[in-house]
Assembly symmetry: C2
Homo-oligomer: 252 residues x 2
């Protein structure tokens, strides 16, 4: 296998791993172990996915996991009754599709919210690499683990928080992700629709809309379609952190 076979160029720019901002956490190559590199690395196949297109759909057989390199992806599940529930929004650096490991079939569907660049990692190659690279193994385990943590944090919010608290926490989460990516945390561009947000937070679309309006009336945020400006971070944090309507604890 020649070295260049590991880097497949699409459109001639940015598709090279060398230019990728996530190489430090990449699971396709063991950056900490350069001399082993080239033997153990997985041929990465970056793929451009357009808004509305799917990475995979629930029920499809599990072959690959996907890493978002740029753009935004939503994952959702469909219950036996046909109702849709968004389970997450995934930004650059995120791993998508690993929940299929257990059953060998994708349990959720993944759809691009805008134009995305996606690294497709064949799962068998990834596990093989894990066998040789403790670094990559730990990265994979940490990814799975943090998905669990995120899901459980969401469970906590859905269960014990009012609509306003949930939405405030959601906006802060978006802002934080912007910050991590090096952008201003006060300017959030929502790639998803109100319906998606509502589904994710278990709220009706109308409720999402109403609360955004209310937050704007209180001068906490400015809403312009999908462009949110956070004007009073402290107030937003206060809303999100507010004590929930007194739930008696289950203790021994």
């Amino acid at each position: 296998m020649s070295p260049t076979a590991q880097v497949i160029s699409i459109g001639g720019r940015q598709a090279r791993c060398e230019n990728c901002g996530h190489i430090g956490s990449c699971m396709a190559r063991d950056a900490d172990n350069p001399e082993a590199s080239g033997r153990h690395d997985i041929p990465v196949v970056p793929r451009i996915v357009h808004r509305g297109e799917h990475l995979f759909r629930a029920g499809e057989s599990f072959e690959n996991v996907y890493v978002v390199r740029s753009g935004a992806v939503k994952t959702y599940v469909i219950s036996s009754q046909g109702d849709v529930h968004v389970t997450g929004f995934h930004l650059p650096g995120d791993l998508v599709g690993a929940d299929a490991i257990a059953s060998g079939q994708h349990v959720c569907s993944a759809e691009a919210l805008d134009t995305c660049s996606i690294c497709v990692l064949p799962f068998d190659r990834l596990t093989a690499l894990c066998m040789r690279s403790p670094t990559v193994q730990l990265r994979l385990l940490k990814h799975l683990s943090s998905t669990i943590v995120r899901d459980e944090a969401l469970l906590l919010r859905l269960g014990q928080r009012t609509a306003e608290q949930r939405l405030a926490a959601f906006l802060l989460e978006q802002a934080e992700r912007r910050r991590v990516q090096g952008y201003s945390p006060y300017e959030v561009n929502l790639a998803m629709s109100r319906a998606d947000i509502g589904s994710y937070l278990a709220l009706a679309v109308e409720t999402v809309s109403r609360i955004l309006t209310r937050l704007q009336e209180h001068d906490i945020i400015t809403v312009q379609r999908n462009r949110i400006r956070i004007r009073d971070l402290a107030a937003l944090e206060a809303l999100a952190e507010e004590a929930p309507p007194s739930r008696r604890a289950a203790a021994h």
Copy 2:
């Protein structure tokens, strides 16, 4: 390391791996690879934990993952405001504590609901074993993956189901687990309190109680404290599967 060093006996009975019902899915030894066994296996330290005692608490540094061998364990998180939320109930065969992989600190606490036998697996030993045994590696990944699936299924239910539907689904889940363990699925012994159930399903204790009563009045179940008998499985399933109050889908 002598072979017997891998089996630490507690109380002289049932602590030997040979008697363990979960050896086929055990992560401490590679049962599919007997000749490698003895070299790669992890010394298992079974531990007896009594009702109310903790396996670990949120914030503690992450050293081990835990496998429930017998008994029942609940995991819960505490928000910054101090409110408690139960994130799961764990029965024999379940892996607990892996959500700490990401941060190196436990994010939830795990408390025994009754007397439990727990296998303590040092995480560094486990990852080392994973490097050598694809079988064990896949088991670990599948465990993490199925935790994600479970959490997301719960998210779906919390978000889009009424209290009655959630509780019906919960009872069916308990029954199913009984069945898998070889017991009658119609006789469910709830190891957890109403408060725990309420916290898990994001319902007030009173609501849980009321709905159990209602189900009993409809001759669907019989409630005797923590002993639930399912009298009309079909009706219970119908309740759980019932279409949610029409949520408009978010589609392109």
